[in-house]
């Protein structure tokens, strides 16, 4: 669905007078393969290049080297622009910057209207999309009265109304409270299950990626780690090197191992840890008797 080969993005660094003083490589030779229906997560510290990479996925940026294909189309080709944008929808960090309508349903209808979808079909899509994100009862509300999590769900509805095959979310929960974060992540998961939409999530919250099929870690424009959440989060020290972290549950398991309690590596969920400690305790009790 989203494929990159030797992807490079360079831009000119300029001084105060506008003279070019050098080049900056935000993305430096990246290869990725994200299949239809996959849930891929991209981690990386501020400035690691992950947002620049994301912006290539719906041709907001086009590569200065290498190639990016979305749904098989080369994003560099201007003739494919509409197709690319329709295939991959983007959701950004700040909900207030991406909502334009004065009424929720108007906002969601904006995308398909722009695509030239017939009016009846637009209304159907608006209704379906709002239902899919659990915001149907707010369809006639004003977006600025909604909470952050609700606004992001409206933004997601706006994207899915264009029926993309892929949604790219660039830190969609950074400005939300814990409840809002949960709402958004749950919504995305549901969409993926019901509609087989490809999900690409960029985030600083390690807890949000434990259900991903594939996790990519970026550092200075490169992909430096790649694997399942369990594989990635087993490498605590490596992650710290890249200014990242592991979920608190994984950290606790790690601390316990350091204290001589043998637990498996890469524990991600609370229940998993409770089970593992429970098994260990049972083993101790059996040894006693």
């Amino acid at each position: 669905m989203v494929q990159a080969r030797k992807l490079v993005y360079e831009y000119e660094k300029r001084d105060d007078e506008g003279n070019v003083i050098g080049m900056n490589r935000a993305v430096d030779g990246i290869d990725i393969d994200i299949r239809q229906g996959q849930f891929a997560a991209i981690l990386g510290h501020n400035g690691s290049g992950k947002s620049t990479l994301a912006k290539h996925m719906n041709a907001i940026l086009v590569p200065t080297g290498g190639t990016m294909w979305v749904n098989g189309r080369d994003t560099k080709d201007p003739r494919e622009l509409m197709h690319v944008r329709q295939s991959a929808g983007m959701v950004f960090q700040n909900p207030d910057n991406q909502i334009i309508g004065t009424v929720v349903e108007e906002d969601v209808g904006f995308g398909p209207e722009n695509l030239g979808v017939p009016t009846d079909e637009i209304w159907k899509r608006v209704e379906d999309s709002l239902r899919a994100v659990g915001m149907l009862e707010y369809r006639t509300h004003s977006p600025n009265k909604l909470s952050g999590g609700q606004k992001q769900r409206v933004a997601i509805a706006g994207v899915i109304a264009m029926e993309p095959r892929c949604i790219v979310l660039d830190e969609p929960t950074a400005m939300l409270d814990p409840n809002g974060r949960k709402e958004v992540i749950r919504t995305v998961q549901e969409l993926r299950k019901r509609r087989n939409v490809t999900v690409i999530l960029i985030t600083h919250y390690m807890e949000e990626v434990i259900d991903a099929d594939q996790v990519y870690v970026m550092d200075s424009g490169h992909i430096v780690m790649k694997g399942t959440p369990r594989e990635i989060f087993s490498q605590v020290e490596e992650l710290k090197k890249y200014r990242l972290d592991v979920p608190q549950v994984t950290m606790l398991a790690e601390e316990l191992r350091r204290r001589g309690i043998s637990l498996p590596r890469g524990i991600l969920r609370r229940e998993e840890l409770v089970d593992a400690v429970d098994r260990y305790a049972c083993m101790l009790k059996e040894n006693q008797s």
Partner: protein, 287 residues
């Protein structure tokens, strides 16, 4: 230097169609030097609350005492209050505007009417306190990394040498290392200066790790107020108002339910690891 709120009510746009009762009968006292966390979901009143602390918002009713004096009385020196209670807003780096970092940090003390020399002494002191590297002092604030920008913005408030530092989500949008660095720096600052630090955060894990007291806001009222272990023991109630306890609290309860005899009030990874390993080693010792 305590802050005392007595029966504070605040109503936005009173008398209009948008009237909203944002704070309802809030009473609390924060003694000088405390490290306090304020939690609550969006719209719970926490931002409204902190804007009362330096008189940016004036209560609709009730009284607020700073250092024993009612700040709502006639001729109270609000200017002095604002330099003593420093507020760092969300995304404070959006408020950086000067040509270089050092000049930006000098802006606060300059506004207080201090001499150029004194401003510079304070700016330097503030930048050191937040661990801002000297080699970047003359850089444009706009060329800095996210974490450095935020440090510069916090230094701008510290340069006024406040007695109380209020931070609204100081780590929003930062990567995990950036989050830890800023919070460690704030904790260190608190230890060094004896300043009161009031931290508003959405991260229960961060709050549990740093503060000695948590105030939970919900629908404009103070719902809970106490030490972290005490507040997080009410995790079911917290969930009902859109909050939660740190992950480890749930694990401790989970273990307890399985009949492993741990105390359930651990709120940080270290506390939980100590408690669980202690209990397991005790089991082993009984062979």
């Amino acid at each position: 230097m305590s802050i005392r709120l007595e029966h504070i009510n605040y109503i936005y746009s009173q008398g209009s169609a948008y009237e909203k009762h944002a704070l309802k009968d809030v009473s609390l006292e924060i003694p000088q030097g405390q490290f306090v966390g304020i939690i609550g979901h969006t719209g719970s009143g926490k931002s409204t609350l902190i804007q009362h602390l330096n008189g940016l918002l004036i209560a609709s009713s009730g009284a607020l005492y700073y250092n024993g004096q009612n700040i709502y009385q006639d001729k109270y020196d609000m200017k002095s209050l604002r330099s003593q209670v420093g507020l760092v807003f969300q995304y404070p780096e959006h408020q950086l505007f000067e040509v270089d970092v050092f000049t930006d940090v000098c802006f606060g003390p300059k506004n207080q009417g201090l001499s150029k020399q004194e401003c510079e002494i304070r700016a330097k002191e503030a930048l050191e306190l937040v661990g801002f590297p000297e080699k970047h002092y003359s850089q444009s604030p706009f060329e800095l990394s996210g974490g450095q920008k935020r440090r510069a913005a916090i230094a701008g408030v510290l340069a006024m040498r406040p007695k109380v530092l209020v931070l609204d989500e100081p780590t929003a949008g930062l990567d995990p290392k950036g989050r830890d660095d800023i919070l460690d720096q704030i904790a260190q600052l608190h230890g060094q200066t004896g300043m009161t630090v009031i931290l508003v955060s959405h991260s229960m894990e961060d709050i549990a790790r740093y503060v000695e007291r948590i105030i939970v806001m919900n629908k404009g009222t103070k719902m809970l107020d106490g030490a972290p272990r005490e507040v997080f023991s009410h995790y079911r109630e917290l969930e009902q108002v859109g909050l939660a306890a740190p992950q480890v609290t749930y694990i401790m309860h989970g273990l307890k339910e399985r009949g492993i005899d741990v105390r359930t009030d651990a709120t940080t990874v270290e506390e939980a690891a100590e408690e669980i390993s202690g209990t397991l080693h005790f089991l082993r010792g009984h062979r």
